[in-house]
């Protein structure tokens, strides 16, 4: 099982020193729902500097007509970089891969929509190599997808969950309404559930980030019993030293899980929970949709 890291700092040394060689970098001007973004020039510099790493690039914004011509140029430039793949949200990317004859592999990353293996297999037949599975489904559902799909599944294991995206400038609108000095972010709380959200705005809209770290360490044992190839760890909003510690712990587990007994596993999980908290998101919680 390989680890993909979405870093929050440009200098990748500290990750590489701890055994990470695969990174997900959100592309500036074509990506949303991140705290920091990388221009194509910055990504090229990273590729030049670190020879033996794998790069995935995220292009996960909703694409509009006015984006398309420049997007084509960008995709052609990316194709020359021989990166590992492009995480995409919008089907325009899949169509352009065919139209432009791109060789770069694609990762289906339609967030909440990657919820069943039949649709994963559909995209596999369309030439999509990977899929980032929704973090809003249960561990059982994730494992069923992994066991029944030909696509290469990726499971997001550690992150502050992205919960929604609006094209509206919700943060700006708030500051205008209260006649306050404009900022591009704000913290809000839903009083009944006590859930806190960090809202971050850029020129494309507003991202809702749950202010409660998702810690999927508990499901790692179940995942290692499947053929899962990749887990994704997102550093956004996590203190760098804690994130590095988390990487070390997961690396340790992946190297040693075959020889770990129940007690070793309990101790390992306890250490991860102390570090990251115990929010397992929807991994053990099934949503409902009929209330009558």
């Amino acid at each position: 099982m390989n680890i993909i890291v979405k870093p929050s700092i440009n200098n990748l040394d500290s990750y590489i020193e701890n055994g990470i060689n695969t990174f997900l970098l959100p592309l500036k001007d074509y990506s949303v729902e991140s705290i920091n973004y990388y221009s194509l020039d910055e990504i090229i510099k990273i590729i030049d500097k670190y020879k033996n790493i794998n790069i995935f690039i995220s292009i996960n914004k909703n694409i509009f007509n006015s984006d398309i011509e420049k997007l084509k140029e960008t995709l052609l430039k990316i194709d020359d970089l021989k990166i590992k793949g492009i995480f995409y949200y919008d089907l325009a990317i899949l169509n352009l891969k065919k139209e432009l004859g791109l060789k770069t592999d694609l990762v289906w990353d339609s967030t909440f929509m990657v919820t069943n293996y039949k649709t994963c297999n559909y995209y596999y037949k369309k030439g999509v190599k990977y899929a980032l599975i929704s973090k809003e489904i249960t561990t059982g559902e994730i494992i069923e997808i992994i066991r029944n799909t030909k696509i290469v599944p990726i499971v997001e294991l550690i992150s502050y969950p992205i919960v929604a995206f609006s094209k509206r400038s919700l943060v700006t609108n708030y500051y205008i309404n209260y006649k306050l000095e404009k900022k591009d972010d704000i913290n809000i709380i839903e009083p009944k559930s006590k859930q806190k959200y960090y809202l971050k705005e850029n020129e494309f809209g507003t991202s809702f980030i749950l202010d409660k770290l998702m810690n999927g360490s508990k499901i790692l044992r179940e995942l290692t019993n499947t053929k899962l190839d990749y887990i994704l760890l997102k550093e956004d909003m996590i203190k760098h030293s804690i994130f590095i510690e988390c990487i070390k712990n997961i690396e340790y587990y992946l190297k040693n899980y075959k020889t770990m007994d129940d007690n070793d596993y309990k101790n390992w999980l306890h250490k991860q929970n102390e570090l990251l908290g115990r929010n397992t998101n929807f991994f053990y919680r099934k949503t409902i949709y009929k209330v009558k």
Binding site: N65, Y89, M113, N121, E144, K167, L170, N173, I176, G205
Partner: protein, 395 residues
């Protein structure tokens, strides 16, 4: 010239009939499973058959929503369900999952597939992708301008459907799990609890993001001019009065455009009628400009209940000139009211004589859900599903 389609939402069979009788060319609704309004009444398989029969007799169409984001377990039985409802006479499925699209296109070549707005399709390249997959129509994302819609139509030549009226999401469709996280109800499987209409708090203030409703009454001609194929009204859980008014109003606007009878006075009157049935303020959102500060509410819920709707007509006794109505809101002798019919007739009159169910003369109809009779002398055909509303002096 083939007129643009007016597409209406039907939460149940009664609403379906009202929509079609008041001028919708087609209706959309969900079955008991697989639709994004899991908590609407929805349609059983038998009702779907009845809906198809009713609509087809009027030479109109029915579209079934199958637009949830499918989990593994939802896939069990869906193919058999599609086969069954197709044989009931469905004209099109509204779908978001490409696997389901491919199944329908492979097995049922005579039924159309429309791509749901749940996919938030915002550009011509994504449209081309689905066109190549055999999709017959795309319901575009609501975040597009008129120019963007036109460019998509010009470059893809596929049938395009756009929302023209009703509630709006704050976030991009399909890209919001607020309901899942805050209330544990899966938005993408029909359980949306509309968290975007909740009131949040910052350190010092309330934070609300609820949007005003969409109202494109004044822009229907623009949409016709750029070759949009279908105009969609939102609201499967709305009342029959709301639907009769909104669908009846848009029917009149569309017909006026094709008859070259659209005037400022006419459209202003239609906008007034739409505003009276609404419970929220409205906006054009993204069609004419980028949505901004003016398109939201900032002080929590701001929704008014509508008490203009006085009742539904059950029958008209021509001999005794009595309209029998099923009352919904208080009214009295002396009130100025309007009776409107599915045939686009309207009768403006003052309530002069009022009777209770036992035909005893009274001054006030106080009790909703009771039967009353109103004296009305008219030659106009007052048919079933006609309705009566209060007219305020401002009109």
């Amino acid at each position: 010239m083939k007129k643009i389609e007016l597409l209406a939402p039907a939460g149940d069979l009664e609403r379906l009939k009202i929509n079609l009788l008041y001028g919708a060319d087609a209706v959309y609704f969900g079955g008991y499973k697989y639709g994004l309004r899991a908590n609407a009444t929805n349609f059983s398989k038998e009702e779907i058959k009845k809906a198809c029969d009713f609509a087809h007799k009027l030479n109109k169409k029915v579209y079934l929503t199958l637009n949830i984001v499918f989990h593994n377990e939802d896939m069990e039985g869906v193919e058999e369900y599609i086969d069954e409802v197709t044989s009931a006479g469905i004209d099109a499925f509204i779908v978001s999952d490409p696997f389901i699209i491919s199944y329908i296109k492979e097995k049922h070549k005579n039924v159309e597939v429309h791509l749901s707005t749940q996919n938030s399709t915002t550009n011509y390249e994504a449209v081309k992708y689905f066109k190549n997959e055999g999709i017959d129509r795309i319901v575009l994302a609501r975040e597009l301008s008129k120019e963007e819609i036109k460019e998509i139509i010009d470059k893809t030549k596929i049938d395009i459907e756009v929302f023209i009226h009703g509630a709006m999401c704050t976030c991009m469709s399909g890209r919001c799990a607020l309901s899942n996280y805050v209330t544990n109800r899966d938005a993408n499987r029909g359980g949306c609890s509309q968290v975007c209409r909740f009131s949040f708090k910052t350190d010092n203030n309330d934070f609300t993001m609820a949007t005003k409703d969409l109202n494109l009454a004044r822009h229907i001609k623009d949409l016709i001019d750029i070759n949009v194929k279908s105009l969609k009204v939102e609201g499967r859980m709305r009342s029959i009065y709301y639907l009769a008014t909104v669908i009846g109003t848009y029917r009149k606007i569309i017909d006026a455009i094709y008859n070259n009878e659209l005037t400022e006075e006419f459209i202003s009157k239609q906008e007034m009628i739409l505003s009276r049935v609404a419970n929220r303020e409205t906006s054009t959102h993204y069609l004419t400009k980028e949505a901004d500060y003016t398109d939201q509410y900032y002080t929590g819920r701001s929704e008014a209940s509508n008490q203009d709707y006085l009742g539904q007509v059950i029958s008209y006794d021509k001999k005794n000139k009595l309209v029998k109505i099923y009352e919904r809101n208080y009214f009295k002798v002396g009130d100025k009211v309007e009776l409107f019919t599915p045939n686009k007739d309207t009768i403006l009159f003052i309530v002069e004589e009022l009777f209770n169910e036992d035909k005893e003369k009274i001054d006030i109809a106080r009790h909703p859900d009771n039967i009353y009779y109103i004296y009305l002398d008219t030659d106009i055909d007052i048919c079933e599903y006609s309705m009566i509303r209060l007219v305020k002096e401002v009109e």
